[in-house]
């Protein structure tokens, strides 16, 4: 959906659009751009403290400060170690240490990669290092790297409702929720709308694979007064194209129409939004 929105935004609006793949655990957007050139790759690291045993007085103040139980200090046997996989790199232990015994070393957590689609680094992707649990930090670093000279930025968010999702949407002006008309789709959508209310974000819904499943989701949207931006019908043929990593080859006319309608709706909102910044989406 994000890749398609990027494609149609670009094709139909005269604006610099960027796509940022924030699903850093499983980034897939680049798969669909066969001619994209990798232009830049930045390694992202977290800072892991290291305890210098010659300076350490085994006072255990760092242990007390660490809320993540990442430091183990056993004074009688002069043991002082940091468990990197639990560390959140908050810096509290550095503040705690009175003996100047802690310094930090970078530990790679993933990469941020830029791709040229039309020569302007339009696609950025975060890719978590396998085994790292620091996906939220990587998303934060990825977003910092995105140029301010963008007119529209599309963040492709990870699944779920927890911290990586919040990190992705927290500075967005508008959120598009993608669901499908099945009991699982509806239930997860309800969780997402709860989250949107909690973080006070305006949002709309796109229903994917319309025609599959049942109509409960439509009743829910109507009952709650939630805006339906559009529907993408389920098509086995189109799904097969997607499976091959081919989204733009031959887009069925019917599906293209659906996207154009969605783009038109969003465009009207963008114009209102840009016309007067006091106006909310």
């Amino acid at each position: 959906m994000s890749v398609n929105l990027f494609h149609f935004f670009r094709k139909n609006l005269d604006k610099l659009v960027r796509l940022v793949d924030c699903d850093v655990e499983e980034p897939n957007d680049a798969i669909f751009f066969h001619k994209a050139d990798k232009t830049e790759e930045i390694e992202v690291s977290q800072l892991i403290p290291e305890i210098n045993k010659e300076k350490c007085t085994y006072c255990r103040k760092c242990v007390e400060y660490c809320e993540f139980n990442a430091i183990v200090v056993i004074p009688p046997v002069k043991f002082a170690e940091v468990n990197a996989s639990l560390c959140h790199s908050c810096g509290a232990c550095l503040v705690a240490c009175q003996d100047n015994a802690i310094r930090e070393n970078p530990l790679p957590i993933g990469k941020v990669t830029f791709y040229d689609i039309h020569g302007d680094k339009e696609l950025a992707e975060g890719k978590l290092k396998i085994g790292s649990a620091m996906q939220t930090m990587l998303i934060r670093e990825l977003k910092k790297q995105i140029s301010n000279e963008s007119e529209i930025i599309i963040y492709d968010a990870p699944p779920g409702t927890s911290c990586p999702v919040v990190e992705t949407v927290n500075d967005a002006d508008y959120v598009i929720l993608v669901s499908e008309p099945t009991p699982f789709g509806l239930y997860d959508l309800k969780l997402m709308t709860e989250l949107m209310a909690e973080i006070e974000k305006p949002f709309g819904i796109i229903i994917n694979k319309a025609g599959l499943g049942n109509t409960e989701i439509y009743k829910y949207l109507e009952r709650e007064g939630i805006e339906l931006l559009g529907e993408i019908p389920f098509s086995q043929e189109y799904a097969a194209g997607y499976a091959n990593g081919n989204l733009f080859g031959k887009i069925p006319v019917q599906i293209e129409k659906c996207y154009l309608n969605i783009i038109e709706k969003l465009e009207r909102r963008i114009m209102v939004y840009e016309g007067d910044n006091n106006l909310k989406w």
Binding site: E26, F68, C90, M134, T161, L195, A243, N244
Partner: protein, 288 residues
């Protein structure tokens, strides 16, 4: 006792549908929904809650504006950019950006910051028609889903031991990050549910690398394999190179969605279908 975790890397490949189907055919099992972020297994298993627990997650600091002098120490030290000025110029903490390290609380020269533990998460022990289910509901935007996964799995293990059950079947989260790592460490076997798409394969490759780094053995199945047989063939070849046994290939069938709508597993909905037969075979193999 053997703990079997169902994972996929990519979301939406059919983990939960397959887990529910396995629940229909498995015996002497306790079930566990480790996808605490967007738990769906209960929609099919329809649990009756027997035990409800609060899961206290990360610390959440608050600034007392009567005490705060706006000195900015907390802002300088916060590595998560979680402290901002509001319209009135008061410093406030964005609970969704805060990681709960409490450094601001410790450093504040005016003692203006105080933390409480968030109690937005719940976890449950429930009875279902297939056996006991341990599951959770996370508050929106909560952190620490990894720790909640650990909690849910721990309880499932206790229940299995108390009742002398042979298996724990655990429906895992998508991705390969903190929640997946928590659902994986210490498991005995992983069942990877793949879909024949390029992105599905790419995601499974990353997942398999993670699983193998934990030295856990894995089986795979391809769900909706006929959606794209070329990619299915590629997956099959790939699995061979990784020495992962492909247990079965499940065709796309709208009955899967129809069963879900009725709150049934595919095995209940149509016990004579090819898919039900295949699910049974998968269970027989995994059991051994």
């Amino acid at each position: 006792m053997k703990e079997i975790t169902i994972l996929s890397g990519k979301g939406g490949t059919g983990k939960t549908t397959i887990t529910a189907a396995l629940a229909s055919v498995a015996e002497k099992c306790v079930f566990c929904d480790s996808d605490v972020d967007a738990a769906d297994l209960h929609l099919i298993l329809q649990p009756e809650i027997r035990e409800e627990n609060i899961f206290y997650s990360a610390w959440l600091p608050k600034i007392d504006h009567d005490k705060c002098t706006n000195c900015g120490t907390c802002v300088d030290y916060c590595r998560f950019d979680a402290i901002h000025s509001n319209e009135n110029g008061d410093l406030i903490i964005n609970p969704f950006q805060c990681e709960g390290c409490r450094l601001c609380e410790r450093l504040c020269p005016s003692d203006a910051i105080c933390s409480e533990r968030s109690s937005n998460n719940r976890w449950f022990v429930s009875e279902t028609r297939f056996g006991t289910l341990v599951h959770a509901k996370m508050g929106p935007g909560e952190e620490n889903s990894g720790k909640l996964v650990t909690q849910v799995r721990k309880r499932a293990k206790e229940i299995a031991q108390e009742n002398k059950l042979d298996y724990i079947i655990s429906d895992g989260p998508p991705g390969i990050g903190c929640a997946t790592i928590s659902s994986l460490s210490g498991a005995n076997l992983v069942l990877i549910v793949m879909e024949p798409t390029k992105s599905g394969l790419h995601d499974a490759e990353r997942l398999i690398e993670l699983i193998q780094s934990f030295n856990i053995s894995a089986f795979a199945i391809i769900n909706k394999y006929d959606m794209n047989t070329d990619v299915s063939d590629k997956i099959q070849k790939y699995l061979k190179t990784k020495h992962i046994r492909l247990l079965t290939k499940i065709p796309f069938d709208k009955e899967m969605v129809e069963a879900m709508i009725e709150g049934k597993t595919i095995v209940e909905y149509n016990p004579d279908s090819i898919i039900s037969e295949k699910v049974n075979e998968v269970w027989q193999t995994m059991k051994e």
